[in-house]
Symmetry: C2
Subunit: 230 residues, 2 copies
Amino acid sequence: MPEKSKFWYLKHFNIFEGMPDEEMEKVGKISSMSTVKKRQIIFFPEQPSQSIFFLKEGHVKLSRVTEDGREIILDVIGPGELFGELSLLDENEQRTEIAEALDEAVICAIDKRDFEELLKRSPQLNLEITKRMGLRLRRFQERVSDLVFKDVKKRIASFLLRYAEEFGKMKKGIVTIHPFLSHQEIAFLTASARQTVTTTLNELKTAGVIDFSRKSLVINDLGKLHKIAR
Amino acid sequence: MPEKSKFWYLKHFNIFEGMPDEEMEKVGKISSMSTVKKRQIIFFPEQPSQSIFFLKEGHVKLSRVTEDGREIILDVIGPGELFGELSLLDENEQRTEIAEALDEAVICAIDKRDFEELLKRSPQLNLEITKRMGLRLRRFQERVSDLVFKDVKKRIASFLLRYAEEFGKMKKGIVTIHPFLSHQEIAFLTASARQTVTTTLNELKTAGVIDFSRKSLVINDLGKLHKIAR
DNA sequence: TGACATTTGTCCGCCAGCAGACGGTTTCCC
DNA sequence: GGGAAACCGTCTGCTGGCGGACAAATGTCA
């Protein structure tokens, strides 16, 4: 799957690659690093947005909460990705997203204005950001398309494939993932119900396609999973 | 609704605004304009992507078709917007979208490479593009969230509001739209069935919220529509 | 190590809304 | 202006999967 590896590559490509050293130094000066614990919220929607973040280690869940308290997960990201970029759009508006650490995470924050300055000075960086946003957009398109055309079983299979590709380790055609999402969270991501996720996963287990316990998730038969997801 | 007008403003803001004249002249040289008829396809997914487009007049539907021939509408855009930007991501890959004119449209095409050059030279333009992509991303997030949380009636109401805001003319609190989407197309956009759209629209008509014939669509009670959509 | 919180597993009743059918209306194009 | 094609309106049966309920397993923290 050549496309996928390219996607991966672009995503994990260091965003400051190819930047002259003196610029890099400036970046170092204007950014601040910190560690957040599992389940800690990184920014609240009420705060006026002023920083954008880079995730160095761990996993972060980006979500929204509706007025009546229901949650929707917009994305789950891993090391090397940036988030909060949408705040570039807002002037003094509030964020609409919540970011929550799914495990111990190391993040790096840069003030929005500083970052915007940086963008103006470095077309290369700017292009990189644009491409990343484009990739996100694509993923969302995919997601909408899945929601419209696929039933729950297919959506969950589809999710597992993405999950495996982004966060799993492949060895001889078998992918192992250290899971960091609950069934409830998978349900939010696939627009389904918790119970349905549990049932479907167990169905897949019985069919021998996957195997899982609380501490690991193994995909035995990628081919079959692809077939189910289509 | 302050947010909305800002959204509108950003979207319809001329993308080349503030560009020095000599640059502008270059843009003129490398771009080519053309007119397309209603229902004409602007680019096919099979073609390697090489141009990005600006829509000057008319409306364009951006969609995807699955292997088994089902269609999903990704977006519907009006004058002032650009499309095909995602091709910036692809090297020599095929487009995954289809663009189709919904009425007589005037478009302007620029070669991808040329445009990329332009971006490198103009941080201002680059930022503008980034912001637009961000807006699109937001809209998609909204759409996913709607799909997950709202029932068909709400989604259709929600669609009507966007439709009105983007393409309608407001006069004394009443919005009139010259419709260019069929019920089938609205169904694709709202992830529902044609019959359901017909029924729901008629329900809204009976309730006095909207009024429509084949040649015009009027929204009488924006407030009520908002309430239904929430 | 025990108690409380969180997550997973299973069963089932219920209904939103999809999809098929078919007839009426408008639009398009020769 | 007439025939075909596209679009709209309405009725109806059927079902995917949501959501409530409750039990079991696992995690967590004192």
